[in-house]
């Protein structure tokens, strides 16, 4: 199922930017931080729009949380991505940006990781898709593109043209309903899902 694409996706990103501008003005004391590995594409889009709308240079970084995750040595090996933080966040407002908020564990790790770059005044979370009722930890987003109610066997796939997708689109993939052109997924144990 397609959650967002085309004009609706553009409209959603515009709205998120307007909400950020309402709270952060000209971004004099605000920095954006995109979450590795997938949130950085969305963060770059938001960053581009905000710079266009405000006419100001806004600092942006990319944060990888692999070394802060709580599932190290508890499952499949973790592969770290690159962290690029060309600024300190001491006394700054930080807007953490990710594409999908699910269990909240990545954001918990990110909050710890951000502490290594100084003590920020405030940290806010902006996500494109919020999978509500799925949280393992008490973490909520401040800015949400779209909230969806999902079950565990479903997954949200975000495809940007920068990653080689034909066009920007966000899909909700159920085990028995693969998106067009993706081939058959593994059959669901429960056909009603």
């Amino acid at each position: 199922m397609r959650l967002l694409d085309g004009p609706l996706l553009e409209l959603t990103m515009d709205r998120l930017c307007q909400q950020l501008i309402e709270n952060h003005g000209l971004f004099a004391e605000t920095v954006l931080v995109g979450m590795q590995p997938r949130g950085r594409f969305f963060a770059a889009r938001i960053h581009q729009r905000l710079e266009h709308l405000t006419g100001r240079r806004i600092p942006i970084g990319q944060l990888d949380t692999t070394f802060y995750r709580d599932d190290f040595r508890r499952g499949a090996p973790l592969k770290a991505s690159q962290t690029v933080m060309p600024f300190l966040i001491e006394k700054k407002n930080v807007v953490l940006i990710d594409d999908v908020l699910y269990t909240g564990r990545t954001i918990r790790a990110a909050l710890t990781a951000l502490g290594e770059y100084g003590r920020p005044t405030k940290i806010e979370l902006l996500v494109l898709i919020d999978r509500i009722y799925s949280r393992d930890q008490p973490i909520q987003a401040d800015y949400v593109g779209r909230s969806v109610n999902t079950i565990q066997s479903q997954r949200v796939e975000v495809a940007w043209t920068e990653q080689g997708a034909p066009h920007d689109a966000i899909w909700l993939i159920s085990p028995s309903y693969p998106p067009p052109g993706q081939g058959a997924a593994t059959p669901s144990p429960n056909p009603s899902i």
Partner: protein
């Protein structure tokens, strides 16, 4: 992706993919080391014992720093002033340390194969920090990583290892690492300090330092290990410095720049003159800096293989 081994005993046991994984992980740790707070919590439930039966300054400091940067608990043991002097065996010593609940052992030992022996007999991840004249895998990793950092990649590069090859564990580990990464290797030194059958490893052998320098992109200059030399391998240090010592005048007389490396400690004025060791093409201090990131990567990737309580 994870390592193909559970212990780091030598480069010989690693695959090219292992080396790339270690390098890519070290890249991430290099960023960590440049933060205001240079620490990550990954190994906070791991205890590591640094067991050094031989002297060491930078390897030991570098390992200890890497362990602390990963938030591991660290205990240090050195043979001098310990019960080893009372006749305790290696296995007993290490088993006593393990009884105190230690997950990883970083060991330096004068006997080649000591870490391999431990790996067979005890339940802990072993990291070889140098076993006699055999291997010194983390040194070779940081050397290759430093070449990769300076020259973009290791594959296709020409590396000359110059000096006391016979008594060097760095040389053997470097040969394995560089060859696995696709570099060409030449060793250079007096015939008495080059093992007779080294050519069988697929390396070129030269006895002329100028010839080696003219051939190579990178010269890894090794220390004359006087403490390991039982007999006389060359007439005098002065004569060695005259025929095999590298100085700025020699480097300037070549038709292109050669990157100078040295695993330390340097015998200044013997294998390397100060004007070459501190010259613009020297990456000796970069090697030391990279050592911490490389050791963090190795410890992190090996710890990943120790599965947590389920």
């Amino acid at each position: 992706m994870s390592l193909s081994v559970n212990h780091l005993l030598g480069i010989k046991n690693l695959t090219a993919a292992d080396l790339q994984l270690i390098f890519e992980t070290a890249d991430k740790f290099k960023e960590v080391l440049n933060r205001p707070i240079r620490k990550v919590p990954s190994l906070r439930d791991i205890t590591i014992a640094n067991v050094f039966f031989e002297n060491s300054t930078r390897t030991r400091l570098s390992f200890e720093l890497a362990e602390k940067r990963l938030s591991a608990d660290v205990i240090n043991f050195s043979a001098s002033g310990s019960s080893v002097k009372k006749g305790e065996t290696l296995l007993d010593t290490v088993n006593n340390i393990l009884a105190m609940k230690v997950e990883m052992i970083v060991m330096r030992h004068a006997s080649p194969g000591a870490p391999h022996f431990l790996a067979k007999h005890i339940q802990a991840a072993i990291v070889n920090a140098g076993d006699g004249t055999h291997e010194h895998p983390t040194q070779a990793l940081l050397d290759a990583y430093s070449i990769r950092e300076k020259h973009g990649e290791v594959a296709g590069k020409k590396v000359a290892i110059i000096g006391d090859i016979s008594h060097s564990r760095v040389a053997l580990s470097n040969i394995y690492a560089l060859q696995k990464l696709g570099a060409e290797v030449m060793v250079c030194g007096p015939p008495t300090l080059i093992p007779r059958y080294l050519g069988q490893l697929g390396v070129q052998v030269s006895h002329q330092v100028r010839q080696a320098l003219q051939w190579c992109d990178v010269a890894n200059v090794l220390r004359i290990q006087l403490e390991r030399q039982q007999g006389k391998y060359f007439p005098s240090l002065r004569e060695y410095a005259l025929y095999y010592g590298i100085n700025k005048a020699l480097l300037d007389s070549l038709n292109r720049p050669v990157t100078i490396m040295h695993p330390g400690p340097i015998n200044r004025g013997v294998e390397l003159a100060s004007d070459a060791a501190d010259g613009e093409h020297s990456i000796i201090l970069d090697q030391v800096e990279n050592g911490v990131a490389i050791r963090m990567a190795v410890l992190y990737l090996l710890a990943e293989k120790i599965k947590s309580y389920n």
